[in-house]
């Protein structure tokens, strides 16, 4: 049977995709935690990071068209990831300042936030389309993705080889998630974020500057989404509309894991990636059914556990 034969390959692909969903989902869930807002413009934060990374690579590769090797490959990749992270963080930061902070100052109802988020999303991707064109962008390779090890079982064209790129994607995503988990649970900024997510008013009584915490939460979400965007760009088409589908998927992952819960977002992302990958292996013509399966999983989980896998109470989990 195809699925059993390709189990390891499918699992591996699922983890690779899922770790990217997780990186993006964290931004949704953290912002939800501190603002009770589904930041639908987060998909554009992700997209802008991917573009930032691609532009960095293009600029670096511009001098010679060759694929760099050795240390320069490492440098290229690292610089692209940093560029993506910085661009996304800057977009997320500005988004909060320009779009959401004025609403918070005026105590706007939640619906207004939601409409603003959708508006900001439309604005941002159209702006990107206007500035950078509406065609897919060429992504220069930052390094030779050589074989690292071979997975058990066999792929459609011989055994599936895990390449450097795969390792890079998964390793980077996991390192970022571990660092984030430490920041949230072990640092003062982290305790501020958790306090605001649990009870913003009481957090103020402890001396927490809620505005600052919200702003930094957007920045953290942006950093992760930007890195996710650059990694995603290394094996997907890059364009101004690229944020939509991964954005929706990551949002699904965040809800699946329990919105507001950071570890839930990580878990939900991985789970969704694996479910998608497995469904491709199990269902004939699976690729066409991937999105259907994801959302069916979401609906089923929410029916059984409305607060998501790790969510404790509706809304207020951190």
């Amino acid at each position: 049977m195809y699925f059993t034969q390709h189990f390891w390959e499918l699992l591996f692909q699922g983890i690779r995709l899922g770790s990217l969903y997780a990186l993006i989902a964290i931004g949704y869930t953290m912002v939800y935690g501190v603002l009770q807002l589904i930041n639908f413009a987060h998909s554009e934060v992700f997209m802008s990071g991917a573009l930032g990374g691609v532009f960095m690579l293009t600029a670096l590769a511009g001098t010679n068209g060759n694929i760099p090797s050795g240390f320069s490959a490492f440098e290229y990749t690292a610089l692209a990831l940093i560029a993506g992270a910085v661009v996304s963080a800057a977009v997320a930061f500005s988004l909060e300042r320009v779009a959401y902070r004025p609403l918070r100052k005026r105590h706007a109802p939640k619906l207004v936030y939601l409409i603003t988020a959708i508006g900001a999303s439309i604005f941002l991707y159209n702006l990107a389309g206007k500035l950078f064109g509406r065609n897919n962008l060429q992504v220069p390779e930052s390094f030779h993705s050589g074989p690292v090890f071979v997975l058990p079982g066999s792929g459609p064209s011989g055994p599936r080889t895990v390449k450097t790129l795969d390792v890079l994607i998964i390793a980077t995503a996991f390192v970022m998630m571990i660092v984030l988990d430490l920041v949230i649970n072990r640092t003062k900024l982290g305790s501020g974020i958790r306090a605001v997510a649990q009870d913003a008013e009481t957090a103020q009584l402890m001396g927490v500057d809620v505005g600052k915490v919200i702003s930094r939460t957007f920045i953290i979400g942006g950093l992760l989404a930007g890195v996710g965007g650059v990694l995603y760009a290394m094996f997907h088409a890059v364009s101004y509309t690229m944020g939509f589908i991964p954005g929706i998927k990551a949002f699904t992952a965040a809800v699946l894991g329990g919105i507001g819960n950071v570890r839930g977002a990580m878990l939900g992302g991985l789970l969704l990636g694996i479910v998608e990958s497995f469904s491709q292996g199990i269902i004939p013509n699976g690729l066409e059914w991937v999105d259907v399966v994801s959302f069916v999983v979401l609906v089923v989980v929410l029916l059984i556990r409305p607060t998501g896998i790790l969510g404790e109470r509706t809304g207020r989990a951190a």
């Binding site: 649990q198 103020q204 402890m206 927490v208």
Partner: protein, 257 residues
């Protein structure tokens, strides 16, 4: 607990701290929620070292008063002065830094943080958590030490109240605002908490106490204010209020003779 009671100064009859300089002054403070006026220009004073009780029925404006002092609400007019400085326009998170601690109504424990993390949140305004303050809180509330690794949400009501007060103490407040510390608690626990409030005061913290439990509060306090629908209708030394027939009837559950 009972052996510690002897270290508490004898019940204050002749107001000693009430002659001190004012630490907190509210002058004609008016607060409104939308169109509804919750405080209709109140004057109130808490002097250095005092326990002042703020009494009144539900909706009289007691909580609103505390929330205005700690900056969660902005007065529409009037002025709040703390240690001689006007608090106008200072955001809540900065008011804490001036030395005003607030144990809010309903305790508002961070339910998914441990007891220790809650106490550390109380010291958020400092660079690092002072072990000395932590030891002091654990000394006041040994119960919290036993429960330090438990989640705040899993504590009993009394323990949560202790945590709320302990958390506020971690910010080293010169003025502590306590909003209904006895709410929903068994009489024995209430007695314990009031005893600790008295100790905290004896250790040098000035206290503004909001209470529905007027009898208990007045036994503890130096002075009291009675609020009715957003106005101060009475203010006097606690002993006088305790013996005032109107107070006895309205707030101490006694019928007039």
């Amino acid at each position: 607990m009972s052996d510690q009671a002897s270290t508490i100064p004898a019940p204050r009859t002749e107001a000693s701290p009430s002659d001190n300089a004012a630490l907190l002054e509210l002058s004609s403070v008016e607060v409104a929620y939308g169109g509804i006026v919750a405080l209709k220009g109140i004057d109130l004073e808490v002097r250095q070292g005092e326990i002042v009780a703020l009494l009144g029925a539900n909706g009289a404006g007691k909580t609103t008063t505390l929330r205005t002092v700690s900056g969660l609400l902005k007065p529409r007019s009037g002025e709040v002065r703390y240690a001689g400085e006007a608090l106008t326009g200072i955001p809540a998170h900065k008011i804490v830094q001036l030395g005003i601690g607030h144990s809010p109504e309903g305790r508002r424990i961070f339910s998914r943080m441990t007891v220790l993390e809650n106490l550390q949140m109380g010291a958020y305004r400092f660079k690092s958590v002072s072990q000395k303050d932590l030891d002091q809180v654990f000394e006041l509330f040994p119960r919290l030490q036993e429960r330090r690794t438990q989640l705040g949400g899993n504590l009993s009501g009394g323990e949560q109240q202790m945590l709320a007060i302990g958390r506020a103490m971690m910010g080293q407040p010169a003025l502590l605002l306590l909003d209904e510390p006895s709410m929903g608690l068994a009489p024995l626990i209430v007695a314990q908490i009031f005893e600790i409030i008295e100790r905290i005061n004896a250790l040098g913290t000035t206290i503004l106490l909001v209470e529905q439990n007027a009898a208990q509060a007045l036994k503890l306090a130096h002075r009291g204010y009675v609020l009715e629908t957003g106005e101060v209708v009475m203010s006097a030394p606690a002993g006088e209020l305790l013996n005032d027939p109107r107070i006895r009837e309205a707030y101490l559950g006694e019928t007039a003779e």
